[in-house]
Subunit: 551 residues, 2 copies
Amino acid sequence: MPQSPSNPYEQYLDQNSANYEPLSPLTFLERAAFVYPQKTAVVHGDVRRNWKETYQRCKQLASALSKRGVEVGDTVSVLAPNIPEHFEAHFGIPMSGAVLNSINTRLDAETVAFILQHAETKVLITEREFSEVVSKALKMVEKKPLVIDIDDPSYLDDPNYNGGELIGSMTYEQLLDEGDSDYDWQRPDDEWRAISLNYTSGTTGNPKGVVYHHRGAYLNAISNVLSWDMGQHPTYLWTLPMFHCNGWCFPWSIAASVGTNVCLRHVRAEPIYKLIKSEQVNHFCGAPIVLNMLNGASAELKQGINHQVKVMTAGAAPPAAVIQGMEEMGFKVTHVYGLTETYGPSVICAWQDEWNDSDAEQKARLKARQGVRAPMLEGLMVADPTTLAPVPKDGETIGEIFMRGNLVMKGYLKNPSTTDESFTGGWFHSGDLAVWHEDGYVEIKDRSKDVIISGGENISSIEVEDVLYRHPQIQEAAVVARPDDKWGETPCAFVTLVEGAELTEQDVIEFCRNNMARFKVPKTVVFGGLPKTSTGKIQKFVLRSQAKDLD
Amino acid sequence: MPQSPSNPYEQYLDQNSANYEPLSPLTFLERAAFVYPQKTAVVHGDVRRNWKETYQRCKQLASALSKRGVEVGDTVSVLAPNIPEHFEAHFGIPMSGAVLNSINTRLDAETVAFILQHAETKVLITEREFSEVVSKALKMVEKKPLVIDIDDPSYLDDPNYNGGELIGSMTYEQLLDEGDSDYDWQRPDDEWRAISLNYTSGTTGNPKGVVYHHRGAYLNAISNVLSWDMGQHPTYLWTLPMFHCNGWCFPWSIAASVGTNVCLRHVRAEPIYKLIKSEQVNHFCGAPIVLNMLNGASAELKQGINHQVKVMTAGAAPPAAVIQGMEEMGFKVTHVYGLTETYGPSVICAWQDEWNDSDAEQKARLKARQGVRAPMLEGLMVADPTTLAPVPKDGETIGEIFMRGNLVMKGYLKNPSTTDESFTGGWFHSGDLAVWHEDGYVEIKDRSKDVIISGGENISSIEVEDVLYRHPQIQEAAVVARPDDKWGETPCAFVTLVEGAELTEQDVIEFCRNNMARFKVPKTVVFGGLPKTSTGKIQKFVLRSQAKDLD
């Protein structure tokens, strides 16, 4: 559109330090400490620190890192459970100008070594529980980082905690002692500066380093508060790992809303219910598998909750029974969707009032859909992967999910070709296949690479799995492609039966024949446990490899 | 701080259209219409439109303006009450690439003419009620804008509404008919682009045109939602004029939170109470004078409200009795502060839980303070006006209030010298004098220009007024400087008595002597009504001129 030749709104009206500051979630911590200094920021066993104390510790961390030679653009890695030090790392590390790289604590030594090497980690903050893996990893790394031990004394008498060696040059508390609590910390000079680095395993190959910037972290932190209606001063339980997309940006959301972080070392039903009751937790996140575990807990654990608890879930569609079970306890379940590349949740299954009249099963089906764009994501569409033409909103045509806007990563670190590829056509390519419903809600049907192409026909593995899940004797199911000379590929089902059940391969195939198109029916059925990632996702690449090797 | 020479986080990780979009509150409307198309967006008498319809009308408005030759950087002015068309203007005008200039409907023809001329208005959208003033103003303007009439059929049987002539080339509805509801509207190519222009009268001289940009409007809209804990789907009553700092950015806040706008032509107790009950209004804003009016309404009007209502007030500290009266009705009062230059409210008297134990008077005193920075304002301080050194947080030392960050205007239109002056030293100079309390809360003591300097001593006019207000027979009071040969200036009090009261000048002076330092006691007392601006602020410049002219 044309612009007036002498647009007066663009003359003598430039940015200056009075009217422009780069967006950064670090300012949320500063404000929380200034406005609500005495409010509890973190709870961890007997440890309780307010926002003023937490801010001071973060400034000390930033100062100490800086004194140790950490500069803008350096990487500081963290391997820790959801404890206060990990929360502090989300502020203290970027406050030194460095980039936070929070590493999945369930990775093997080789992968940790790959990450430390690729990220060029200068300082590694690690917790005793992971000393064995980290020690092994460090042996494989050429340029050794400075290693700092978190020596956490309080862990809720967690029987799963076995301690571990101190392997670093000093403890985290000793490092903090080197820092200045009045440190004039490093504000980003540009909101596009990196704030964190999150490696995504995908399902195969070397992990890719997803870079987040201050602007996106700020905006997704706020998007969470808005889309989940968190209000001021939420009490948030750390069931979701902080290493997972920076805990979906919730460390920054909790600072923005001046809430309380209730820490949790291990995700187990007992401490979760205990903390929900004792700390009056009203918000937590977790994969459906966590909800399932809570649902299956004893009646004794479940009783005594008299306040509303909101649960945000993602990673897979929550089954109807799980949603129903949670809601009977008074838990309100919100289903969200996103990828590491979109700062965690950037799509939300926003609830519509008129759905209140649906029955439990309908509600679960509506809620199982991934949804619509979160408040601060500018674009979401289901489109043809090649032409990027949006598919019709008919709930049937399959396309790929694309995102665009301020909740999309800066790119992959030191990987320009993959970065360019993922942004082809001005949209981020999610790799997830979905339909677009008439009401604009997106529903995932499959990952691109999980599609089975048999005799030229596309078969959605999720569709086949959905049928398998309907069989009352099947506990879990995953379907992948098995190479086939005649058909190219055929569906191969991996199935776990419920305890005490007995089914033959033929029983399963017969059941499928009665419930789906003939060409979609698995040609092979394998019984046994399913391999899973640390976040509970079934590792289809392992199954694909198994399917390939079947005699 | 030094940066690594080859910072990998700044290489091949540039902005592109997949991962960057200029922030604009226009995206809130787009999302509201997509996600909640059927939810009610505006209520005005019998008119009810949902978000889908509202979005379509805004697109039509943008399209029609564009067809009529409106370009990026052109000004479209609006003179209208708080009706749906005025809400639509906040989106439809910038969606054409133009800048919205919403004009105070209480201004005289000369000032309106000055604004139209200074803003170089291309199109003027005006409502019948203001036809007389607008017609006069248009006669004084050289380059005539295209004039569009809003012909509003529904006005709640408002007895204060007298209609008015149609004075334009066509009606607003006819203009919309020229537009395309599928118009591919104009997204700003830069978030620093102007979105609106708001003239601030100050208290003297020609009005200055404060320019807002898309980024600031987006951020203050969200800051409102967060600081007021509005939640999703609020029902908002339009007691605050939309021409006042774009209704403190609430048109955009309501789109972001997908709420309902309940329109209101005139601010009167009867329709306000009626709408609070019939529409279940739960949020509204207004100056303390509005709260006072509601407080003084009949018991009959007040009864029957069974839900929580939140009130945001600014412009002056709400008196204790008003806060108490409102809270007895179950209304929760939040005090905010800001200027046209800071997008309306950028400072909030954030409530602290421990204040709940205070008595009503203490609470009112705490709440009368202007407060702390709103969530999205990065800097707020009370400092020496010349050196910009922060004053001690002792609740006594007076300094000027300074703001810095993303809620500060782009600058004054076509006024580079005043813009530069207001941003001297990298902070916005508010011109308001205040103390800084130990807890970090700011409390205004006076406007810079309202300070009285008598015998070299500064006298806060607000402090003297506070004492006068304590006299049970004084209804209203304002104190200004009167030139004095001996002292330079002396305090001169203008006083309105409560009905039936009788006080002499000597009575007032005697009362002051018993309640303040001798040098602060007014030397002159004038009885009578006080001149006020259209927003209810006492016009001290008028009083200063009167004080100067006293015999």
